[in-house]
Symmetry: C2
Subunit: 405 residues, 2 copies
């Protein structure tokens, strides 16, 4: 088992999204070429909540929560009962399977909080955990933190959009070898892929056959494009026995500043997660929980318009990337992540990310955060000002040309 | 090492403060005596933020944070730099030792979040940790969660108020036996004791001699009564090398609904804690962090008035308890906890707590949460409406008389 020092070594966040201000300035002087490209700075490491503002009613509902005083400030560790009950109904509608707000749902500080509690409640020292490559970097770090053993399963996300591209044979091998837990994001972070109905059915069937608990991170499932194909909720197929679903209003709804998330699944696991939350952070901030009253019941047409605007940005960025030679990118079917594979360059991928920051005022998240096999890729969260994002991707492409081998 | 199921068994929260609504109704019919005592319900398990409202300016500053948009919603994992820098100055002033906001401070979701990260960053599997009995229940649970080994050290808090009553010989034995970490609350939760300058000096000296990291939970150190004697900040005595201090605005300032806390100590440990926070909850909610702009710089006289009002409640409750035969209680020197030891009763201590709820509409936290040696005690958070608290303690005393052996 890893010593505490080794454990924290694996948790390095130097290249994590949003933490770029704390990076040591690398010496790029030997590799840098040409002039700076002038343009409005864009931070693609996360969405811009100034460009896409928080969903309507959130702030007002927060204020109501503060005014409610003590009964909103202190809630059960799993979250205020009345909010859970109402939210459970809407989550059941959205995911297509019944849900008990009393027993099967916990409110957390962000979806990150939900993911942490779920992994903590299911992964013990030495437990094998199936992890998709590429996938959200915290999945891997959390398993390492709890001394689990990572069993990678490849996602061939560039092969086409009729399926996400999960290697189901590899998944079965890993399950056969004794994996206890499978964690994956759907839509996929960073690729924007949606798992096909067949893939979800296969996951459900394999999990049930081998007794594996599946953690489905569905954070981005609402931002579903008109050409994205069908979205299948695992919990609706698999029954609720061995599936924990994670969602939250931080992305599509731009409510990240409130740190709210939700995990729902078997009562026994939710119970464990509540016990742990009691010593991790007590609860999602009481006043903030109030904001969930507006979630999944926004004004008519609001979500559709948000999807339409994101789809338009997506299409512009895809066209810009694809006009260049040798940049490979899958069309995101949901969410606001786009994962672009670059051609061979004269500089290392991490140096290129730093060059983008210095010469183009553009921040992206390096592919190395998501898989050891995607070093030559970069993730962009395109929930940004449309024109600024388009201009920034033009600058990226110009620098790809400049540094191309 | 504990299995994951065993681990979560130790985390039971059935009797934890504020979670009483989820307790199964125990069958008290066989032991209950006499009639219900009518009175305004009081929940002593936590402070009443309707009776003592959030510190001035908090809400307005939150609203400013929301208006600031993206730059307040997304911050570094350790918290927004400008807020950390300003807060570090005020924390340095308050604790009497310099502090770098850039390197030595992390903002967390509540002080519970700070405590979790600190224990996680210092306690590995098998590590011995010195824990005071009685002390805040999460200390023990956190050590168990990380598979540490608890080494209890007794606090003879009823012996007088010239010192907290820590058994320093026992502390040294535990350090000698290889303890790596010592965690304690000062002022003490649940007893309200302040550690004397001599005790703090001894802790600093022993920690330095045996190379022990000390976690000082000073959550309640601002609510310091005029007759409470001197308060000594360990970090001012011990240097910053092996001390992590934890504070937050949830109690004295009634800002619990915003879930904000702070840990400050050696840069290397704060760095670890930030890495972990990145996978636990990302950050304290961005908008909420804004509220810390008002902390430790409230309007002149505000803190003094809050102390005066709490001291008056304290004195009334102490007088009521002490007028009864056989109830032992130390005069709290700081904070709003009061820990009362009851005489022998005809019912078990946990049943008596349930009887208080049923027959007196009063919620208290049972002594079993704080130490295996304080089953016959109960903790009251007296940050309540003054008259309601006094009447509730009169009902408690009446029921003590009714159930006395």
């Amino acid at each position: 088992m890893a010593s505490i020092a080794e454990k924290f070594e694996t948790l390095k966040t130097d290249n994590a999204p949003g933490q770029e201000t704390r990076q040591q300035a690398a010496n790029l002087d030997d590799v840098i070429k040409g002039e700076t490209l002038v343009g409005r700075p864009v931070d693609f490491s996360h969405g811009d909540v100034d460009a896409f503002e928080p969903a309507p009613g959130a702030f007002e509902t927060f204020c109501d929560g503060v005014r409610a005083g003590a009964r909103q400030a202190y809630t059960e560790y799993r979250g205020k009962e009345e909010i859970r009950e109402a939210l459970a109904e809407r989550l059941a509608d959205f995911t297509g399977a019944p849900l008990s707000g009393a027993r099967e749902l916990i409110l957390t500080p962000g979806t990150q909080g939900a993911l942490f509690l779920t992994i903590a409640a299911t992964v013990g020292a030495g437990d094998k955990v199936a992890i998709v490559q590429p996938d959200y970097f915290a999945n891997r770090k959390l398993v390492q933190f709890f001394d689990g053993e990572i069993c990678p399963v490849q996602l061939d996300y560039l092969a086409g959009t009729d399926r996400a591209g999960l290697d189901l044979d590899e998944l079965e091998s890993v399950f056969k070898a004794g994996a206890k837990v499978f964690v994956f994001s759907n839509p996929s972070n960073p690729t924007g892929a949606i798992y096909s109905p067949d893939e979800i059915r296969a996951i459900a069937e394999l999990a049930s056959r081998y007794g594996v608990t599946v953690i489905a991170d569905q954070l981005y499932s609402r931002l579903h494009y008109s050409d994205g194909g069908p979205y299948t909720h695992l919990r609706a197929l698999a029954g609720s026995e061995n599936v924990v679903t994670i969602m939250g209003p931080s992305k599509t709804e731009s409510l990240s500043g409130y740190r709210l998330g939700a995990a729902f699944g078997p009562a026994k696991l939710i119970e464990r997660m509540e016990r742990l939350q009691a010593i991790v952070s007590l609860r999602a901030a009481g006043y903030n929980q109030s904001v969930l009253r507006t979630w999944l019941c926004e004004p008519e047409g609001w979500l559709e318009e948000r999807i339409r605007l994101h789809q338009a940005i997506r299409d512009d960025l895809l066209a810009t990337f694809r006009a260049a030679d040798g940049i490979a990118v899958r069309t995101p079917q949901a969410g606001s992540y786009l994962f672009a594979r670059l051609p061979a360059l004269d500089v290392s991928p991490l140096d290129f990310v730093r060059i983008l920051r210095r010469q183009a005022d553009v921040i992206v998240t390096p592919g190395s955060e998501f898989s050891p096999h995607t070093l030559d890729s970069m993730r962009l969260n395109f929930s940004q000002d449309h024109a600024a994002a388009k201009a920034a991707v033009e600058r990226i492409v110009e620098l790809v040309e400049r540094y191309r081998t």
